[in-house]
């Protein structure tokens, strides 16, 4: 083995250790925790709330993100360029900025929020605020993936569908959507994972209340201020969920027919 290959191998081992050691440390330390911690009210409430809100926001993301992704893949209008920039913004915004931005817009004294408040809708401190925060940060991940999926569907197939008399919508539903399904599925998993991990925007916009707005990442943060043990247990659960996400990702069938 030459020096270059050796360096590469050693760096690889070092990088793997750098990533795996902290993760393994959480699992090992959490293993010493008593089972009552796992079954405590706060932990169960956080798990339930996180699963619920991440799933709701992912559903919302698929509903509003799919048409946008298709439009991005098929159009070349000025609107497309504008959408492109707007959609990339949440990915580069620091989460704390996203939080204060949501407050400035939808808070009770916010630009839009004050009108909502005048008709009796107050978003901050509600579970809905958690879903909004998660949707805000995770939407771009789904749209990017789905858009790449739609873009890789050859227009020949869509063209064939049109010639056979199918409408644009039917073609989208019966041809484009099924052919892009791997990328769509990958987008769903990625945005769900991002929603599960959302912290900064949630704590600022939705507050921190057990059972209503305290998702798992917020529970880790709050628990650390009282008992390290409880924080480790919730962190370990989040790590296990992350592994499940990775397995789900691997299980996505590879695309076969998308290229003509």
């Amino acid at each position: 083995m030459n020096a270059f290959a050796l360096t590469r191998a050693l760096t690889g081992i070092g990088v793997a250790a750098f990533i795996l050691l902290p993760v393994a440390s959480v699992l090992i330390s959490a293993g010493n925790a008593s089972p009552e911690v796992l079954l405590s009210y706060e932990v169960l409430a956080a798990v339930k709330l996180s699963l619920l809100t991440a799933t709701l926001s992912t559903l919302l993301i698929v509903i509003i993100g799919t048409p946008v992704a298709y439009h991005l893949a098929r159009s070349d209008s000025a609107l497309r360029r504008f959408l492109e920039v707007a959609l990339n913004l949440p990915m580069v915004l620091p989460p704390a900025v996203a939080g204060i931005a949501l407050l400035a817009a939808f808070g009770r004294e916010g630009i839009l929020g004050k009108y909502l408040a005048s008709i009796g809708i107050a978003l901050p401190f509600t579970t809905a605020a958690v879903v909004i925060a998660q949707t805000f940060v995770a939407l771009p991940l789904y749209v990017r993936s789905a858009r790449a999926g739609f873009a890789s569907v050859s227009r020949t197939f869509e063209g064939a569908s049109y010639t056979l008399g199918a409408s644009e919508f039917t073609t989208f539903l019966k041809v484009s959507l099924p052919l892009a399904r791997s990328a769509i599925l990958a987008g769903v998993i990625m945005s769900w994972a991002r929603a599960m991990g959302e912290f900064g925007a949630t704590i600022m916009f939705a507050g921190n209340f057990v059972g209503r707005t305290q998702t798992m990442p917020l529970a880790v943060y709050s628990a650390l201020q009282v008992s390290v043990e409880k924080a480790l247990v919730i962190a370990a659960l989040l790590i296990l969920i992350s592994f499940l996400i990775l397995f789900a990702f691997e299980a996505i069938p590879k695309r076969r027919y998308a290229d003509a």
């Binding site: 407050l103 004294e109 107050a122 921190n208 209340f209 201020q225």
Partner: protein, 251 residues
């Protein structure tokens, strides 16, 4: 490559500046304004740097237990100081100030709260987490109020809580922003945010009397200077500054 290594070197050494000519003070969030002023004068007097870290006393305690370096710990209650004394992180501590709890509402007072009993209505109330001294005191005060407003008052008001913040400053900002209708904070915090919040005093017989404790950490590398800071805090000038920010100090 050279640029990268220089960057790395800077990043690695940046964290090591404390411990030399200066002291690090971990202080309860409610002490923010008072300690900033104290530190500034102390710095000018001694020509050294005072690094301040403010958070809920419970957070600071966990940070110290997890190995964070500090020369001084100032707690908003006895509990967290005692825990560190018991474990040997602090050798001795002294009480140096008192505070009281008040209710704050946004200047616009959206829920139209005029007195303590109005908290029973449809109100978005924010308090500090019950692990934070300010949160614990708020719950204590609510139960004290049952003597005036009847049994069940505390439960009723606590059901209006929409968020439990990790420090009293978090409560203050949620109210000052107008997102919450009311919050329990220290009188000193309300004073620091005058103009943005309105104060509703609690009946004195139901109020709590939070006591602040300060001590030098046993692992401090600069115990003399740390002790001098505490002496300054207890001096007449130190007490004057604390009083200016609304704290009660002994005679």
């Amino acid at each position: 490559m050279r640029f990268l290594s220089v960057l790395l070197l800077v990043a690695l050494t940046a964290g090591c500046t404390s411990g030399g000519d200066g002291i690090t003070v971990f202080a309860a969030a409610s002490l923010t304004e008072a300690f900033q002023e104290l530190a500034q004068e102390f710095e000018a007097q001694h020509g050294i740097k005072v690094e301040l870290n403010f958070a809920g006393s419970n957070t600071l305690r966990v940070q110290i237990e997890q190995g964070a370096y500090a020369d001084i710990f100032a707690s908003a209650n006895e509990e967290h100081m005692c825990a560190l004394l018991r474990q040997g992180y602090v050798d001795e501590s002294i009480a140096f100030a008192k505070n009281r709890l008040v209710i704050v509402v946004p200047e616009s007072n959206p829920a139209n709260i005029k007195n303590v009993e109005d908290l029973r209505g449809d109100v978005k109330l924010v308090i500090a987490n019950e692990a934070v001294p300010a949160g614990k005191y708020a719950i204590e005060a609510l139960f004290n109020l049952e003597a005036l407003y009847g049994a069940g008052f505390a439960e009723e008001v606590l059901s209006r809580v929409v968020s439990q913040e990790d420090s009293v400053k978090g409560v203050l900002s949620k109210v000052a922003l107008g997102e919450a209708d009311a919050g329990f904070v220290y009188a000193t915090d309300a004073l620091a945010a005058r103009g943005k919040v309105r104060v509703i005093e609690l009946p004195p017989e139901a109020n709590v009397s939070p006591r602040y404790y300060v001590g030098v950490l046993s692992h401090s590398k600069n115990k003399e200077l740390a002790q001098e800071f505490i002496n300054f805090l207890l001096s007449s000038r130190g007490r004057e500054i604390l009083q200016k920010h609304g704290f009660e100090v002994g005679q």
